[in-house]
């Protein structure tokens, strides 16, 4: 049986719709019910969280979770849609430890907040970087530079401080 349909049977309140992501069964989940759905998914044997993707669609964000079951060799895709002004979804770190960095990365580059994440700070870009680069409205024209502070921490500025040899 299609695992997306199975999930819908088990949790009818959480699943908005089911469909296919090309060749993988996909279920669109209500934002509030994500953690419950994820718990159920894990119970169903999907033990491998492959990837978390956040995408900016100008008016809303989509967060896509790709799961895989080592036992049943099945794929399952969960999709959550959030609003654009204050994108927030529940964190899955309590279920998959691997979600930790994937969520931090999504937060860093796309700017989606994961509530309940133990350590939601930027991972690839330094603290203090302005904007989230993978948003469609990210300002590519303003160049930001990183310099080192007293204790070796990163300091972000737009002029480069003493870093550049000539302005």
């Amino acid at each position: 049986m299609n695992p997306a349909e199975e999930l819908k049977q088990k949790l009818p309140a959480a699943v908005v719709s089911t469909g296919m992501q090309l060749n993988k069964p996909m279920a669109v989940i209500k934002k509030e019910e994500l953690l419950n759905a994820a718990k159920k998914v894990k119970e169903m044997g999907f033990d491998h969280l492959s990837v978390i993707t956040g995408t900016d669609y100008n008016d809303h964000f989509e967060v896509v979770y790709n799961f895989f079951s080592y036992e049943k060799k099945q794929n399952l895709v969960l999709k959550v849609i959030t609003d654009h002004d204050n994108p927030e979804v529940d964190s899955l770190t309590s279920l998959w430890k691997g979600a930790d960095w994937l969520e931090r990365e999504t937060y860093d580059l796309v700017g989606i907040k994961f509530t309940g994440h133990p350590n939601l700070i930027r991972i690839l870009l330094p603290d203090g970087w302005v904007g989230h680069p993978l948003r469609k409205d990210y300002d590519m024209n303003t160049e930001q530079f990183v310099t080192m502070g007293e204790g070796g921490e990163d300091v972000v500025s737009t002029d480069g401080g003493n870093l550049l040899r000539r302005k």
């Binding site: 992501q21 090309l22 492959s50 990837v51 790709n66 060799k73 991972i123």
Partner: protein, 382 residues
């Protein structure tokens, strides 16, 4: 006596962090209390560039993600695009792709094992490894003119057909490599000091490995017998005979042995592929951006660049790269450029488990464990 914890900052420039990774270590004497990796020193914004380039323009960037094994990177992006656009690939092209990817797996493991041994203090293995790597790179060069960054696999096939003399040279390499792997085993496997350094170091159980999202040799070293080539087959892997190498121990030594075994399996695969190589086209349809390389170089320029637009949709495509599960999540909005490219890199996800693995160990153990995770920073930071 009063004691204090020592904070040590390893990297981003440190001989054994394989590039620009940085560890913040909280130490009690020589024992690691807490290890925090700090990433991002090689963050080049590849995903953003993916949105700014056309599909064909983006292929060279995939080479530079995991620069030790670039062919699988090439392949998985192209595979995603092919799935999205529903492009057929001729059989001969698939065979050539598998040759490149398996050769690249051998190259990757040579570099990985070599640098592991160098970090442990035995510099000879890396020299030997690079000697054989050089032979493989000559094969790559013959095939596509590049040593490390290939831009060879294209939607609908491969860029050029196999040149003359490639197959004999490949056969020679395979024969040579078999002997060499025995040499390596002789040099390393029975070395008492090596065993002392590797056994029971950086142990991670199967459940934890799965929970952390580890994949590839690091997962198989923990006893999870899982390989995408076998269980979610792509390309011509269903027709090939190979075994999935795994070890139950979950320590550094197991991960190392898995790599050595995988090299042997790759040789086995390559021998089969060479023997059963079919004749035929290497491109299904040149309109996807491949110039048939039969004429002069100017013939190439008349075909390039091709712009093609896959239909709108999204796809997550993944393969078993040498380092683990490598996936590309591509969203198309029906224009010439991808709307979103997300790279699921094996190094990034495998590295997640390092803080768990090394607590209570010492700095030399951190290096041994980290070496067997086999991380390339271009792949981690993207």
């Amino acid at each position: 006596m009063e004691t204090d914890e020592l904070l040590i900052n390893m990297g981003p420039v440190h001989p054994s962090t394989h590039g620009v990774l940085r560890f913040k270590l909280r130490m009690d004497g020589e024992i690691i209390k807490e290890c925090t990796p700090v990433l991002g020193y090689l963050h080049r914004g590849t995903e953003k560039l993916g949105e700014m380039k056309t599909y064909l323009q983006f292929i060279p960037y995939t080479d530079r993600l995991d620069y030790v094994s670039a062919f699988p990177n090439n392949y998985v992006f192209v595979k995603a695009v092919e799935e999205l656009a529903g492009i057929e690939v001729p059989l001969r092209a698939e065979y050539i792709r598998v040759i490149t990817m398996e050769l690249n797996r051998i190259v990757n493991h040579l570099v990985s094992i070599g640098s592991l041994l160098m970090d442990l203090g035995a510099a000879t293995m890396i020299m030997w490894g690079f000697r054989e790597r050089e032979n493989a790179l000559q094969l790559f060069e013959k095939l596509c003119g590049a040593r490390m960054t290939f831009n060879y696999i294209k939607p609908g096939g491969v860029r050029e057909d196999i040149p003359e003399g490639f197959i004999p040279q490949l056969n020679e390499f395979l024969k040579d490599m078999e002997k060499r792997i025995e040499d390596y085993e002789q040099l390393i496997n029975s070395n008492e000091i090596f065993l002392m350094r590797m056994k029971n170091i950086g142990v991670i159980s199967a459940q934890e490995a799965v929970n952390y999202g580890m994949t590839g040799p690091t997962l198989r070293g923990s006893g999870v017998d899982y390989d995408l080539r076998r269980y979610e087959p792509y390309s011509i892997y269903p027709d090939l005979d190979f075994k999935v190498c795994s070890r139950p121990e979950g320590d550094s030594y197991a991960r190392y042995i898995v790599r050595i075994d995988e090299m042997k399996e790759s040789l086995h695969i390559l021998r089969q592929v060479v023997d059963t190589m079919p004749e035929g086209k290497i491109v299904s349809n040149p309109k996807y951006g491949i110039a048939p390389m039969t004429g002069t170089p100017s013939a190439v320029s008349t075909y390039f660049p091709r712009i093609f637009t896959p239909p709108a949709g999204e796809v997550y495509s993944r393969i078993e790269a040498p380092k683990g599960e490598l996936g590309f999540y591509v969203v198309s909005d029906g224009t010439t450029k991808p709307y979103r490219v997300k790279i699921r890199s094996p190094s990034f996800c495998n590295l997640t488990a390092i803080p768990k693995m090394v607590v209570g160990l010492k700095i030399p153990d951190l290096i041994a464990a980290f070496g067997t995770i086999d991380v390339v920073l271009g792949d981690v930071d993207r």
